[in-house]
Amino acid sequence: MTSLKGFFRGKTSIQPIWIFVIAIFIFFSFMSEYFLSLGNITNILVQTSTIGLIALGMTLVMINGNIDLSVGATLGLAASLAVGLQEISMTLAILAALGSGMLLGAINGLIVWKTGVNAFIVTLGAMLGVRGLIFLYTGEESFYSMNFAFSDFGASTIGPIPVLAIIFLLCTLVMHLVLTRTGHGRNTFAVGGNPEASIDAGIRLGRHMMINFIIVGFFAALAGVLLASQMGAATPNLGRDYELWTITAVVLGGTKLTGGFGSITGTLGGVLAIGILRNGMNLMQVPAFYVLVILGAILISVLIIDKKLNAPSTKEVRI
């Protein structure tokens, strides 16, 4: 065990979740003859892109010490707007969808910033309220896209690779750079790690919180638009439980709920882990209910292992 610890703590620290991703990847390659093919792997990327995109924004929000439970509802609203407004104009529909996500994020961020009410409560309220708005807007009906360019986009590819997968990977790269290379990213860590010290260092905490809520709102809306284009439709219940899947992926990736710690690379690992498990078990024809039980058990086990590996055994040694 100690050598394993040393391995994880080394300079080129490999995140535990990636070991897990590689392990299940190899496992399913042996267990199912259909698993290891370009078609299936790009398929996994497309399947995970929805939750993956939201998880990118959620990582920043969580490192910042907040959480956003309203992403599923935001996704649903954006999808309905993107399909529902197409009659007027395609461009308008997409812009309105993305704008709605950013606006909802900004409102969440503003309330958390200005009132100091816990983000969990604020976004829980937003989750219920926005879902209500979707029903008001759609009148409880599903919208179907009559625009084939829109529904074809979701299935289009560049070479052998689906456009959705490319968008997801590009966004991942951008958010990784934002988090690790920009001042905003650094301050996101600082605010999550110690809000009081951050204020005293002259960091404008509210501004960073708001930016992160806007980012997650944007990604939820983008995920909604892309999901609608995949399905060629939007249902009022679209995005239910997505906040839970997203948070699961982010936490699997090593981001701490308490803030101040996490990474986009870890989140990518968490997203892929969930995607591979669902896909692999599906190919092995594991019944859907068992899949949920297994995913739940794996989430808890991974976090236990992570906690054991990172046990602060050297904490007492001071220099």
């Binding site: 010290a197 204020i199 050297t314 007492e316 001071r318």
Partner: protein, 550 residues
Amino acid sequence: MNPSQENHSQDSHSQDSHSQDSHSQDSHSQDNLAHGGAQKRQPIDAQPVLQLKGITKRFPGVVALNNVDFDVRPGEVHALLGENGAGKSTLMKVLAGKHQANEGKIILGGEEMAFENPKHAKRAGVVLIHQEQSLVSEMTVAENIFLGSLPKKPGNRVDWRKLREDTEKILATLKCGFQHDDLVGSLSIAKKQMVEIGRALVFTPRVVVFDEPTASLTDHEKPVLYDVIDSLCQQGVGIVYISHRMDEIFHLSHRISVLRDGEYTGTVNTADTNEDEVTRMMIGRSLELDHASKPGEFGETMLEVRNLSVKRVFEDVSFNVRKGEIVGMYGLVGAGRSEVAETIFGLRTPSAGEVVLDGEVVQFRSAHDAVVSGVALVPEDRKDQGLILGMNCRDNMTLASLSGVSSMGFMKSGEERAVYDKYHQAMKIKTPSWRQKVGNLSGGNQQKIVIGKWLNTHPKLLILDEPTRGIDVGSKSEIHTLVKDLAKSGYAVLVISSEMPEVLGLSNRIIAMYDGRVTAEFDGDSVSEDELVQAITGMAGSSPPKAQAG
């Protein structure tokens, strides 16, 4: 509970300890301290109640304790000294069952013990009073004292009546002005500490370990603690007292033991030694404390505070700081010193008055405005306000000056490293690498990182709030020298401190505050300790008390 507190009124140097009145407590202590210098306590001749023999504790890659011996006699205060990282805390954690020693014996009352956990040690009579308080603010005093050991009636129901009676017995020993049903969150830091001590009294303790108990107390509040320690001693409890403050140690202890780099360097009787010898034992050399001269050349006025007030916090505060000058702000905790600094820094909104910085009237609406305009505040509480403990050294260092090491929002890691290297060398910060998390550094090095962080904002005015609190002697003198050098190089420096030697050693001028008002301004070289104490206790005119200068 040991019911022998009644003896306490016969305490040799306690005239009026039944009184809850803080002023009489205070004059009693001053009497205490006035004699303290002359009459050091003689060692108590008795069989030790506790012995640690040949304790060795290894952590991966480090020997934290190497063959350490230590013993405590009943009724004695045994001071344990050492620089940060010398192994004091580890030794005490071994003693209290938090760590298990790799080698060595713990003998309590003639019996060899192997404590598996803190609860085990507590039941055997060894209690550690923590440096950081671990109380539940939302619960009452009684519930906190008996946390984890609430008296029960059959059926696992809490026996509230017994809880109240037992708590009142303990509170009678502590003689502190609060009730069993007060919420802990509503108490002052000093009173919270009393609750923490009360917790130790639940199990009849044989050895009580105090780890830096006065770190968050004012000179005013310490006598209460000393009384409690005295009363424990009279009950035959052995006390281990860890502190950085020499004056306290020489005042309280019977014997002094010293650790250096995890090794036991020796034990001396307090009556036969002096600060110089103890310091030499601690750091292996004789330390010339604060011999660097004070700054002497002043430029124009950098900060002028005119009639500044914040309602119900402080009132009508006026003073100025010139370039190249160190101004000390001295007063008790609660006198409003930190609040004045926070107001200058934009964290509080003044209700009246103005702040003039470098000739311009400024009204900061946030800390950000203040930082941009060239004010730096090294806060009182390093861990809560100064540092992001989970971040590495480099990132903490550049936290307040990110715009200086980035362009278009993107960090330039080369320049960031250069900033870190510069202050790392200039201040002799001891870290293995810039990747080290600051949470793993000692207090002195952490404080240097905070100071470096602010220097990199190139401030016009540097405010230091309790710059050496909880820092070992070696680092303390380094930080003092650093502050003087900064002033000499042209910074305007405002130092807030509760330690008189620090204020006297650093300041060109001293502003004394009492109860939200500036009571006097002194020349730092000619003021006497008596004058200062009078000014900060609001007792000007009455009998001059003696200060506790080291």
